[in-house]
Every structure is written in structure tokens, then in C-alpha cells.
């Protein structure tokens, strides 16, 4: 990544961090509010090598684990995998299409939740309920936020978005 692009990416990630901790608490139910940190990870991962994306995912997860340590390490494991897979996914089949981006973000949120819940020992109907109701809802709001960010910063992120 060139130096200038790195600066722009850092700005976007910082903005998402601010949104996570300043805007998100003011929104609706926390379980369905967009996850700006995971969005930042996905945006970064699709522009980085898989190794760098995995490291970014690991540190993102470490931060999440420190803030809600119901099972420490679960979020680190999940976001490491999501970051790595996102970087590979981008390299293999990604297209600059808004709907594909939205679906990709939605899938990232759902996969993160799935791994966190499994690693935390959630089972039965509680697991199904979370994965069938709350995770898709959070994925949807995160995807909408992601599309807005991508449209706003499409020049900085050097992407040609198709509708």
C-alpha cells in the first residue's frame, strides 16, 4: 500500500473507531447496532495481504475480548479468521459491486458471531436464536453503514463501485 493510501486508510479506520465508541452507544438496541470496528477490519482486510489482515484481526479481537471478556480469546480467534478469509476472498473472487460488498460485510459479521458463540460455549436454542435473529440484524445494519462509508470514500479507497 503506498504511503498516501496508508494515511487515508488510517483516517478511515480512526473515523470508524470514533463511530464505534461515540455514535454506536447513541443508536438503537446494542445487539442490532452496526459494528464499526469489524467494518474497519473488513475494509482493511480487503486491501491488505492475508497475513497482515490476520494480525489486524487478532488485535481487533484482543480489544473486543478486553471489553467484554465472557470467554477471553473467542473474539481474537473469530476476527483473526474473518480478517484472513476476507483478504483471501478479495484476492480470489471479489468484484467492485455495492451489493457484493454489502453481502461480504454481512457474511463477515455473521461468521464472526458464529465463531465467537461456538468458542464461548453457546449451544442449543440460544445459539440458533442469536445466529438467526440478532446476527443477521447486526450484519444488515453493518452492511448499510459499510456501503455508506464505501460510497463516501470511494476515491480514497480507489474502488469503482457499480450499483
Amino acid at each position: 500500500m503506498p504511503q498516501r493510501s496508508r494515511g487515508k486508510m488510517a483516517f478511515i479506520l480512526l473515523l470508524l473507531l470514533l463511530l464505534q465508541f461515540y455514535l454506536r452507544p447513541r443508536l438503537w438496541d446494542s445487539r442490532a447496532a452496526p459494528d464499526f470496528i469489524l467494518l474497519g477490519l473488513l475494509i482493511y482486510a480487503t486491501r491488505a495481504r492475508p497475513g497482515a489482515a490476520a494480525v489486524a484481526g487478532f488485535f481487533t479481537g484482543l480489544m473486543m475480548d478486553s471489553l467484554g471478556p465472557s470467554r477471553f480469546g473467542a473474539a481474537a480467534l473469530a476476527t483473526t479468521m474473518v480478517g484472513y478469509l476476507a483478504a483471501w476472498g478479495r484476492a480470489v473472487f471479489f468484484a467492485d459491486n455495492l451489493l457484493v460488498h454489502a453481502g461480504f460485510i454481512w457474511g463477515g459479521v455473521w461468521l464472526r458471531d458464529f465463531i465467537v458463540l461456538l468458542a464461548s460455549g453457546a449451544t442449543g436454542r440460544a445459539l440458533l436464536w442469536q445466529l438467526a435473529v440478532w446476527s443477521p440484524l447486526q450484519g444488515l445494519t453493518t452492511a448499510v453503514a459499510g456501503v455508506l462509508i464505501l460510497v463516501m470514500f470511494r476515491d480514497w479507497l480507489a474502488i469503482r463501485l457499480e450499483a
Binding site: L18, L67, G68, S70, F72, G73, V116, R125, A126, Q138
Partner: protein, 278 residues
């Protein structure tokens, strides 16, 4: 020509990924005391400005959107408090007559609940009060509706509460009026978080709608904190014991404010919570 470096980079990516996976898995199975120290160190260093920002946002939200609700609650409490001096005098007289000592005043710290985006938010809660405010490990955490959980880790200005939804939560409880004792624990297999009242003797039956309160046994929770209301029998061990399903009084996922109770668990909070309609 470029295949060799590409392959080497791809291999290094895989190695880095596997190293991160290994570290994460290691943390999953590491002793909780060690991971709690690591989490505390991260919260007290790089996350301090972010937690501060979230706390400011929560306070801002509370001051705007919940102002009307808080005003209504304050008016109701003011109305209730009008009869308090007379009641206190009467109580003091009765205590003197019976030779009972004075009741200890209830001490607490108010804290904002800083919700996170993780799907396990609600099993543990990050609170905006820590050791500087007097919070200690095993301090009970309550919402206006009832019991939320207990403090499991304390930093200087934040703390982590393990809620009743956490699989490891247990509390001794009894039923209002009937005095049937049991242990409350999170119910397994329910779509929405519910509690179970376990170990109820087979000879005792608890009608649906009965209020369940903490018993004060065990030295953590004071007596009289509402836990929830009985929904019905969920299973029974014939001739031995029954387990009842309990609808929790307070939901950690919706809690915005919490009170951390300070001091001894020998306090009794019976009567401190307003009666709910069954």
C-alpha cells in the same frame, strides 16, 4: 519470474495466520486469572480514551433520550418519599421496643453500562465505575428492576460484571411469602435468557407469578434483591426435587444504568425494591 517471491509471501501469510490462531486458541484455554490480568492491562492502557468516549456518549444519550422517563421516576419516588419520615420514626420505635439494632444504611455506586458489539455482550458487562469509586470484586450489581450480577474484575475506573446470563452464575434464592429456597442459575436451551430455580424440595410447590428474591446465603448477594418471577415447572426428579423456570426481573442486554452495592452482604434489601404487578 515473480512466482517465487509470491509463493514465499503466501507461505509467510499462512505462517502469520497460524501463529495468530495459535495465540487466540492459547488465550481461550489459558487460566482465567491470567487472561483477566491481560484484559485489565489493555483496558487500562490503549482503551482508556475509547472507554472514556463511550462513557461520555452513554451519559449524553441518557441525558437526552431518557430525561422524560427519569423525571417521571423522580416524581414517583418523591411522592413515595413523602411518607418516609413517618415510616422511619415508626420503624425506629418498633426496633427499640423489640430491642433490634439499627438497620445499616445502603451504600451504592451508580455506573453506566457500556455495551459492546460482541454477540456475548450481556454475559458480562463493562461498567463505568471501578476501584476509585469503591467497587470491589464480588460486589452485587443491580438494576432498578432487580439483580443483574456480580463484579468479577475491577480496574481503577471501570469494572466487569458477570451477569446472571453467564453459564457460571449461581445465587441462593427464596420465594416471596412461601419461603421456598433454591439455587438460581441460567436456563439452558431457552431462546431468550431465562433463569432456573433449582433444588426446590419435591414437597414444595410454587405457583406461577411468585416473586423470587436473593436469600442472602452465600455471602455475596444481600437478602431481598428481586431475581424474577416463576413461570412454571421445567423439570422434576420424581420424589426428590423440582426445577422452576424464572422470568428474570432485569435484562442485562437492555440495562443502561446499574447500581453496584458496596459493603456487607449481610444487609437486607427486602422492601427496597418497589412491588411489581404480578
Amino acid at each position: 519470474m515473480n512466482e517465487q517471491p509470491d509463493r514465499a509471501r503466501s507461505r509467510s501469510d499462512t505462517v502469520v495466520f497460524l501463529a495468530c490462531l495459535l495465540l487466540s486458541t492459547g488465550m481461550l484455554f489459558a487460566p482465567p486469572a491470567r487472561t483477566a490480568r491481560l484484559a485489565s492491562a489493555i483496558r487500562n492502557s490503549v482503551l482508556v480514551p475509547l472507554i472514556w468516549m463511550q462513557q461520555a456518549a452513554e451519559e449524553g444519550k441518557a441525558s437526552r433520550s431518557r430525561l422524560a422517563l427519569i423525571q417521571a421516576q423522580r416524581d414517583s419516588i418523591a411522592l413515595l418519599a413523602q411518607g418516609l419520615p413517618a415510616l422511619r420514626d415508626e420503624n425506629d420505635q418498633l426496633r427499640r421496643l423489640l430491642g433490634v439494632g439499627q438497620r445499616k444504611p445502603l451504600e451504592f455506586v451508580a455506573a453506566e453500562v457500556l455495551h459492546q458489539s460482541s454477540p456475548t455482550d450481556g454475559l458480562t458487562l463493562l461498567l463505568s465505575a471501578g476501584s476509585a469509586e469503591g467497587v470491589a470484586r464480588f460486589s452485587p450489581v443491580v438494576a432498578p428492576e432487580g439483580l443483574l450480577g456480580v463484579i468479577s474484575s475491577v480496574d481503577r475506573h471501570t469494572s466487569i460484571a458477570t451477569t446472571w446470563a453467564h453459564p457460571e452464575f449461581r445465587a441462593s434464592a427464596y420465594t416471596d411469602g412461601g419461603g421456598v429456597f433454591g439455587i438460581v442459575a441460567p436456563a439452558a436451551g431457552a431462546t431468550e435468557p431465562l433463569l432456573e430455580l433449582r433444588g426446590v424440595p419435591y414437597r414444595d410447590t410454587i405457583p406461577a407469578g411468585t416473586l423470587v428474591l436473593t436469600s442472602g446465603l452465600g455471602g455475596v448477594y444481600p437478602k431481598g434483591i428481586p431475581v424474577g418471577r416463576v413461570l412454571g415447572v421445567v423439570r422434576e426428579l420424581t420424589g426428590w426435587e423440582r426445577t422452576y423456570l424464572v422470568l428474570p426481573a432485569a435484562n442485562p442486554a437492555h440495562a443502561a444504568h446499574a447500581l453496584v452495592l458496596l459493603g456487607s452482604a449481610e444487609l437486607s434489601l427486602e422492601g427496597a425494591f418497589p412491588d411489581e404487578a404480578p
